[in-house]
């Protein structure tokens, strides 16, 4: 084999395994589910491809409430993650000194435990005879028979808790990269600390805000664990519907149609978000 041919083959050797993986475990299931989403039939006799595009319309019109709820809960949680995560990441990046690694460890520590178990722990924390509820009752934030569990608040709190590291870590990376001399330069050029924060820190943290929001919002949209464990059917999100269609009712076409609809929503959302923040931030976030 000539050197030239080998040179041409080398890149394929590198991307080959990844490409094969994506073809087998991403593209094939995706196309497979796309065809399933256009099938009709029933669990007993099986499903046939009939190009039933009405599956999509049926799915959206029947579950628009859960769709709306998913986007609302995921959106509110993403916002809360940003509000909690930004000061956390800011402090860690600029003021933590020798505690930096320790704080970063604390941020990822919850991942050492299973997702479901962490959420079950929140069930206990928010339970009716738990300390949080009795404290809220004492200070009057909750009525005497008020509860936290099985409410919208509980589901959003759970999602916020579970996805906080996905927000905090990209924010930390973006803030950490900011040269402190830039902030000195801003104050040297008559910017107060607040103005320097607004005009220099936040714009330079945008790639992190962008990446963190996507990493939080996308999985939160499809989440079903939090609503299942901390909510009631009144708080069910689209993930709960898809999960029960696939695993309990075995209505595969509708489950697939719902999945693709969710994917479309998210893609359109990302596109609008990228337009809002500028595409440069998208590419920078990827680096």
């Amino acid at each position: 084999m000539s050197l030239n041919t080998r040179r041409k083959l080398l890149p394929w050797l590198f991307i080959g395994p990844g490409l094969l993986w994506l073809l087998l475990f991403f593209l094939y299931p995706l196309l497979n589910q796309a065809s399933v989403s256009l099938m009709t039939g029933n669990p007993e006799q099986g499903y046939d491809l009939t190009w039933a595009f009405h599956n999509y319309w049926d799915a959206i019109s029947e579950y628009k409430e859960q769709f709306g709820r998913s986007i609302l809960y995921a959106g509110v949680s993403t916002l809360l993650c940003l509000i909690i995560g930004f000061p956390l990441a800011y402090f860690t990046a600029f003021h933590a000194g020798r505690w930096k690694s320790f704080i970063l460890l604390l941020i990822i520590l919850p991942f050492f435990m299973s997702y479901v178990l962490r959420t079950v722990a929140w069930q206990l924390i928010l339970s009716d005879d738990g300390t949080v509820v009795s404290f809220f009752r004492t200070i009057g934030l909750l009525g005497d028979d008020g509860r936290l569990l099985a409410s919208r608040t509980a589901v959003i709190a759970g999602i916020t808790y579970n996805f906080l590291p996905f927000m905090a870590l990209p924010l930390y990376v973006a803030l950490e990269k900011i040269d402190p001399r830039l902030l000195e330069a801003a104050t040297d050029l008559y910017a107060s600390r607040t103005t320097a924060f607004r005009k220099v820190t936040v714009p330079l943290a945008l790639p992190g805000i962008f990446a963190g929001s996507l990493l939080t919002f996308i999985p939160a949209c499809g989440d079903f664990i939090n609503a299942a464990l901390l909510g009631t059917p009144q708080q069910y999100m689209i993930g709960n519907v898809i999960q029960s269609k696939f695993l309990n009712i075995l209505d595969y076409p509708q489950a697939a149609a719902l999945s693709f609809t969710l994917m479309l929503f998210i893609l359109v959302g990302i596109f609008l978000y990228a337009r809002l923040l500028g595409t440069r931030n998208l590419t920078e976030a990827a680096i």
Binding site: D179, R181, L182, E184, A185, T187, D188, T195, P203, L204
Partner: protein
């Protein structure tokens, strides 16, 4: 002294800065006159950058006061001080265009967007970068970034410009070119420049006044000629150029005797007594072959040639003096050959005019 303080743009009064156990700046008092090009020169760790950062407001002095134009600004944050800094790393905002970088200070001062952009354009013109206003800093070369940093500071017309090793990251050719440009700009705008550098040639070619710093204190401040011809400490004598230092004792009016017994005339020693160290620059010394008569009134020492290096424009000799010191001598290459009488191993005489003898304190 009161009069100079009033004229001073920048005045430090007994300023110290300690970081933990380390004293970076030690009880420093200095005045920088309005409109001057003032260089702070010293090796790394001498406290020059810390001093500059205290003037800019980025470090709080542990003790002492900082005055700008006569008023005490020790407690003022950087954004309330009428000085601007050109940072060593330039610290240009990567997310803003060159033009927006330059207009940043003006916009904070509520100049108005249109006016700010107009003045930013003028400042870019001053540094000959009008054509790159719309680009991002990352698209510029190091030299261009340096000039943008300069324009960004100058556009605010500050009382003084603080330059922290502004040419340190550039290659030699660009550095030389920008030295001249900086000097020209300073003369054009007429504001005080405080320039921190470890490069003696840079300081000497640009500054009106050079303060040589060592261990958190100013060893000596003065014009380049002052410092070079009449260094008052061994540190200054060795940091600026090459010096030949010899131990001696004052034995009469303007007379010293070196430790090996040679009698020298040193006008600078008038009024001094006891042990001193005298010095003479290598290019002030003329070498004479042994036995040739010493011109009237010249100082003379005896020695032996150890090294004779032919450098083209000059010949550099190292002479072992009778007292044991190794002395440097630069002889201009006027003959087009290495003189036979001054070859390695020959006994020679080193002669120089008494007024070229300087005195650094003992030790």
């Amino acid at each position: 002294m009161a009069a100079t303080e009033a004229e001073a743009d920048i005045h430090l009064d007994g300023v110290s800065k300690r970081f933990g156990d380390m004293t970076a700046v030690d009880d420093l008092t200095m005045s920088i006159p309005r409109g001057s090009f003032y260089a702070m020169l010293g090796p790394s760790g001498c406290g020059k950058t810390t001093t500059l950062r205290m003037i800019g407001g980025f470090e709080d002095p542990t003790a002492g006061k900082v005055y700008l134009g006569g008023s005490d600004v020790t407690q003022h944050p950087p954004y309330r001080r009428d000085v601007n800094t050109v940072f060593q790393s330039y610290a240009l905002f990567p997310h803003l265009s060159v033009e927006k970088n330059v207009a940043f200070g003006l916009e904070r001062k509520k100049v108005g967007k249109a006016e700010a952009l107009k003045r930013a354009g003028e400042a870019l013109e001053l540094v000959q970068l009008s054509h790159v206003g719309k680009r991002k800093p990352a698209q510029l070369s190091g030299g261009q970034q340096q000039r943008v940093a300069l324009a960004r500071a100058l556009v605010n017309r500050p009382r003084a410009l603080l330059l922290d090793e502004p040419l340190g990251a550039l290659d030699l050719r660009l550095r030389k070119q920008l030295q001249i440009e900086l000097k020209r700009i300073q003369q054009d705008v007429g504001i005080t420049f405080v320039h921190v550098t470890h490069d003696q040639e840079e300081a000497m070619s640009m500054a009106d006044t050079i303060a040589v710093m060592n261990k958190g204190q100013i060893e000596q401040a003065g014009s380049a000629t002052d410092l070079y011809e009449r260094p008052r400490t061994a540190f200054v004598a060795n940091f600026l150029g090459i010096s030949n230092l010899i131990e001696a004792k004052v034995t009469g009016d303007q007379r010293v005797t070196t430790h090996d017994g040679a009698q020298l005339h040193a006008p600078e020693c008038a009024g001094l007594t006891g042990d001193v160290r005298i010095g003479v620059r290598p290019e002030k010394i003329t070498l004479l072959p042994d036995g040739e008569p010493v011109p009237d009134g010249y100082n003379a020492l005896r020695g032996k040639v150890v090294v004779a290096a032919f450098l083209g424009v000059s010949i550099q000799y190292v002479i072992q003096a009778a007292g044991g010191e190794e002395l440097n001598v630069f002889a201009q290459n006027t003959d087009g050959s290495e003189p036979e009488g001054l070859a390695v191993g020959r006994e020679v005489q080193l002669v120089w005019r008494p007024e070229h003898t300087f005195v650094v304190e003992r030790g």
